[in-house]
């Protein structure tokens, strides 16, 4: 039974509670309302990116370009809205950010499907291309005079929760709904599991996979806007390494990099876990370097536990809940 708890679905949730409990005792000022809000703000961007990354990983892909693409979205959109007080311009610029993200995602998906190149390679190339494009776009300059309205949005709270975090919650909720309740979500899981069987059932799996990359692109575009809202700047060097944190959240959340297994709830908890860990260690005064080491180890433990769980499941031949969401959904209703 203990094994069940440690290794099962609830494992990540339990780990999160234990970790938070530890920091409540060990880290001064961890358990304050203000710090809770800090954590929410800190995990916003990673949560948003991880939502999109979940789709990509579920179809068996990976997107290494999200950090650079985010910078590209930010500079294009930031240039457009800078110095303007008009709401129309602001909304237009936000839409442009999302659009740029979606286009980058489409290119990632299309190239890897059309020429059968692993998405690892395609998005690695895109990581460089997008970063270069962002630098070129602003001549490596940082954009400062972003609209005040945007900055306001980045600082206000609604019902005690930072507005930007509401956006992250909303996106995670939509992601959960799409994955567990829609035909498209079902096809995402099925394609990640056995693409050929899905194709031979009359579905264009290429389109499904490209759509997954576009969804990742959409979240990149949104994350770029949230970034500008919070920090009030747009810079071509922002977002470096963000892809790795997003992937880490998804993997800690129980997804398989082979595709077909994972869930939005897991991803969300994974992002929370990473955020709590970083925040708590900071408050404890752990140095940057040590924090990195610990974070790396946590990711490793998550993956090893996951592999162990799979092996254990195979051995016991337990009905393996491969997809956490569709299953209860099927059993319910």
């Amino acid at each position: 039974m203990i094994k069940r708890l440690v290794l099962g679905e609830a494992g990540i949730g339990v780990a999160l509670v234990v970790l938070a409990g530890f920091f409540v005792i060990a880290a001064p000022n961890f358990a304050t309302e203000q710090n809770l809000r800090n954590i929410m703000t800190q995990i916003t961007l990673n949560t948003v990116l991880a939502v999109g990354m979940t789709f990509v990983i579920l179809v068996g892909g990976i997107d290494l370009s999200v950090g650079s693409a985010m910078a590209l979205c930010a500079v294009v959109s930031g240039t457009m809205m800078a110095g303007s007080g008009s709401v129309v311009t602001l909304v237009g610029a936000i839409l442009v950010s999302v659009l740029v993200g979606a286009v980058v995602g489409w290119i990632n998906g299309f190239v890897s499907e059309q020429w059968r190149v692993p998405s690892f390679i395609v998005t690695l190339a895109m990581l460089n291309v997008a970063r270069g494009a962002a630098e070129r776009y602003t001549d490596a300059a940082t954009i400062y005079n972003l609209p005040a309205a945007l900055n306001d949005f980045g600082t206000i709270t609604l019902l005690g929760v930072p507005a930007v975090f509401w956006v992250a919650l909303l996106l995670a909720g939509i992601g959960w709904f799409v994955l567990s309740r829609t035909v498209f979500g079902r096809l995402i899981y099925a394609t990640g599991n056995n693409e050929e069987a899905v194709r031979l059932s009359g579905h264009k799996t290429s389109r499904i996979k490209i759509a997954a990359f576009m969804i990742a692109g959409l979240t990149v575009g949104i994350a770029a806007v949230l970034y500008m809202a919070r920090l009030n700047i747009a810079s071509p060097i922002l977002g470096q390494g963000y892809e790795l944190n997003a992937i880490a959240a998804v993997v800690i959340g129980g997804a398989s990099l082979m595709g077909g297994r994972g869930s939005m709830a897991g991803t969300f908890l994974g992002a929370c876990l990473l955020g709590v860990l970083t925040n708590g260690l900071l408050l404890m005064g752990v140095s940057d370097f040590e924090r990195q080491i610990i974070t790396g180890l946590v990711i490793l433990v998550a993956v090893v536990l996951d592999a162990y769980r799979l092996r254990l499941a195979r051995k016991l031949a337990v009905t393996q809940p491969a997809t956490k969401e569709p299953v209860p959904a099927t059993v319910a209703s």
């Binding site: 309740r181 829609t182 035909v183 599991n193 069987a197 059932s201 009359g202 491969a322 569709p326 099927t330």
Partner: protein
Amino acid sequence: MMTVTGLVKRFPGVVALDGVDLDIRAGEIHALVGENGAGKSTLVKALAGIHAPDAGTMTFDGVPYTPAGAADGLAAGISVVHQELALLPYLTVAENLFLRGLPRTAGVVDRKRLRADAARLLAEVGLDVAPDTPVERLGIAQMQLVEIAKAISTDCKLLIMDEPTATLTSREAGRLFGILRGLRERGVAIVYISHHLQEVLELADRVTVLRNGRSIETREMAGVTAPDLVRLMVGRDLAQEYPVKPPTEPGEVAIAVRGLKVAGFEGPLSFSVRRGEVVGLAGLVGSGRTEAMRAIFGADPALSGNIELYGEKVRIRHPKDAVRHGISLLTEDRKSQGLVLDLPISANVTLAKLRGLLLRFGQERSLSEDLGRRLHLRSAGVGQHVRTLSGGNQQKVVLAKWLNAGSDILIVDEPTRGIDVGAKYEIHELLLGLAAQGKALIVVSSDLPELMGVCDRILVFSRGKIAGEVARPDFDAEHILTLAYSGYLKNGETQ
């Protein structure tokens, strides 16, 4: 030499083995029969060391046998052909055959010897492919032969075969029987599982019947008849082996294929099927039937040729086009092409008909349960993951998927692969029922009696060409086999 007593294996929600006694002697062929989900494969996996039993004992060669994994089984001298094929797709046939011990010279793999050894084994099982062919390019029957060759390549004391002939035609099966008899002479004990009772009658010395995870009875084969076996397996008599097709007046031409050419096969193929007709495709392994059907369905590109549906030319470039035009293809390999193993039964059943925006769980559930009942699906509920179903029950899920798609033109490739005698009858009846509703059916099967049982006409493929066509009144196994071989003879005289 292998004695099993009171073996129990439980899975969550299912008792797969519920007290099995089995005693296998050296130098005998011991058949294991039972309905889908009776526990045959689970028993095999326990013997092989893959599943640890929850209770019961096994004794091998007089000593207690408690394998901790498949490696222990192999080390003890137990060689297994599992029901689900498990070759490495990107390695060559030769590499797959000798994965356990590649021939080496001074530490380096000796390619030449590897090829030669492989060629010898392949010749023995009658598989005509180059040892260097990557396994992913083989059809399912060819993969099955590779598995068989692999199993007999090791010196073993106990050889277990779980439905080795499910996809083989009589030619390859006959050769396999020869090999098995040879091994029996040498004192090897053989456990043989099959749903083809004729084979069991022909080959086995003794038979053990499993029902609901229990061993019902072990008998000497002498004097046992097919109806005896059926009664033991199913617990009742089966009136006849094949349902009788009500005579129907075939309607308009539903699908006409003209001049179809497929890569790697001679062709061109031309034929048509009318509404209400059941047309069988007979032929040897590798005669191009599967490839032709895949090209029609848009699964693989065709080199040339065109397809007319109800007199109108259509272009089918992707399975999606085919499904939209009301064509279904049940593929021969359920594991790699038919099923999403880690999704529940219900999700698999609806896969070919998923449209729209939202999933309808209630509907999905009720129609899966309904189809499951009609196909005698044995499961712990439609939420059970397909991976954990028995082989025959997985096949029923693929069938359910295409029945649910409701197409007017249904192509089924080995539809009853791995399905037990009782359920087979129901499935044939279901297929004939569809024909009676005016649907056009194409049945590809390695089981000639099955084709002769349910079809109106049989097209005989030989080396990628249609060597002849036989209508029901003239059905004659020998004639059909002659046609099937004709393309392989020097100057194809029989046409």
